[in-house]
């Protein structure tokens, strides 16, 4: 059969095509750019005081908004003061999540001076920030989770059930090429999670995992039992959860660790070695 491609070959190529790639690139940049204007000023003062191990993401500064005193800036780590009976409220914007702490009953509340004890961890597969705040009895996170999930930096936001009923854990799954910094303030106490784009390496990671399950107390119990072995809950592609144990660069390391933990009676035969991209959820 002879094919007449004249019509196809004569399709006129419009001028716009030569600028399309540049437009696409600036559209993507724009999506990620707005944050700098907001967070630049806030961080500026902090960077001057506490150069520390903070990545120098923010350069320009103009004015410093009135806030509590900055206690620390960090990526992962712990902070705050041991306490109990705190109330926690939070709100999210596109690139910043603000968490406030208050004391007292619903009739009479006052802002807390120091943040309660907390810990922030970064886990992979998928890349996520796991924030656990202790000594919190009351919280209102519904709105936060909805708003946070709308942020272009966040793929999903949810509360993870944990056994300790005086603590609350929030998981923020990050979009690719997203990083964060956490700022802790006192007088009044608050935490701010700043999200921004930063090229991130996406690599293959290996770990030991449980079977997939729903987010139930059983999951919480398993995570608790395995916490000393770097156990953590991770959402899978179909919205279930697995417990990941450890994180390894090679299959051999993961297999070896699984064998050890089986021999110690920590894990049973339902655990296996699996891998996926650090930015992605398990299948």
């Amino acid at each position: 059969m002879e094919i007449d491609k004249k019509g196809y070959e004569e399709i006129e190529i419009p001028q716009e095509l030569s600028e399309m790639m540049a437009q696409v690139r600036s559209r993507e940049r724009l999506r990620h750019a707005r944050r700098k204007k907001v967070t630049g000023a806030v961080l500026a003062a902090a960077v001057l005081v506490l150069a520390g191990n903070t990545p120098p993401v923010y350069a320009a500064l103009s004015e410093v908004p009135v806030l509590g005193n900055l206690v620390q800036i960090f990526h992962i780590g712990t902070g705050g003061t041991a306490t109990d009976g705190m109330n926690m409220t939070a709100a999210a914007e596109e690139d910043v999540i603000k968490i406030n702490f208050a004391l007292g009953s619903s009739e009479k509340t006052e802002q807390a001076v120091h943040a309660p004890a907390y810990q922030a961890e970064k886990r992979t597969a998928p890349d996520r920030l796991v924030l656990t705040v202790h000594g919190v009895r009351g919280f209102d996170l519904e709105e936060l989770l909805l708003e946070a999930a709308d942020s272009p930096y966040i793929r999903d936001a949810y509360r993870e059930i944990i056994l300790d009923d005086s603590a609350v854990r929030v998981v923020l799954e990050l979009e690719p090429d997203t990083d964060f910094e956490i700022l802790e303030y006192e007088q009044p106490a608050s935490l701010e999670i700043h999200l921004f784009s930063e090229e991130q390496e996406s690599r293959d990671v290996w770990f030991i995992r449980s079977q997939a399950m729903e987010m139930t107390e059983e999951l919480a119990l398993t995570v608790e039992q395995l916490s000393m072995y770097e156990g953590a809950a991770a959402q899978t592609e179909d919205g279930k959860f697995v417990v990941q144990v450890g994180e390894f660069e090679t299959q051999e390391e993961a297999e070896q660790r699984l064998e050890e933990l089986k021999n110690q009676g920590v894990l049973d035969d339902t655990y296996l070695v699996d891998h996926c991209l650090s930015t992605e959820r398990l299948q």
Partner: protein, 166 residues
């Protein structure tokens, strides 16, 4: 072990620029309208660019990008409901019937009467000269299914042409 080298922004742009005219023609074949084609391609390129990390092997860039454009075209057509009706197809046939030699087949013109999925097969096979294997990779369907569908489609077109010839 896997060694995954993700596409950098620059590499994506480079690869895309190299084939941009082919991508434009692909998008154009679904709507035969410049503005629509630009919109489809721009949206598809943006999606590909934002998700460039998901492409695990660079040599599959073309397969992957074509797939994104095709699915973007389907989405666009669904949204705008710009199906070209059979009546238009017949009118088109009327005009150009005499120009078409019996031995050749003007695939580009034949696209008008077809559904989006059928168009894809013809564009990839006869206008972009891709192998059955490549088409099977782009559409994620078995190679034999691709062959059967294309032959069935050609038969259908020939029958239509024959009716008009009477």
């Amino acid at each position: 072990m896997f060694h995954i080298n993700h596409l950098t922004k620059e590499r994506f742009a480079e690869k895309w620029e190299k084939s941009r005219e082919k991508y434009y023609r692909l998008a154009y074949c679904y709507t035969k309208n410049e503005q629509d084609a630009l919109e489809i391609l721009s949206e598809a390129t943006y999606k590909g660019y934002c998700h460039r990390h998901q492409l695990r092997q660079e040599e599959y860039f073309d397969t992957w990008m074509s797939r994104i454009i095709i699915f973007e075209a389907y989405r666009y057509l669904r949204q705008k409901k710009r199906w070209i009706s059979f009546e238009q197809y017949e009118e088109g046939m009327e005009e150009s019937r005499f120009e078409t030699a019996e031995v050749s087949m003007d695939i580009y013109r034949c696209l008008d009467g077809l559904e989006a999925g059928e168009r894809t097969l013809l564009i990839l096979k006869y206008l972009e000269d891709r192998s059955f294997r490549e088409i099977s990779e782009i559409l994620s369907i078995p190679e034999n299914t691709v062959k059967t569908r294309i032959y069935r489609l050609l038969k259908k077109i020939r029958e239509k042409e024959a009716q008009h010839g009477d």
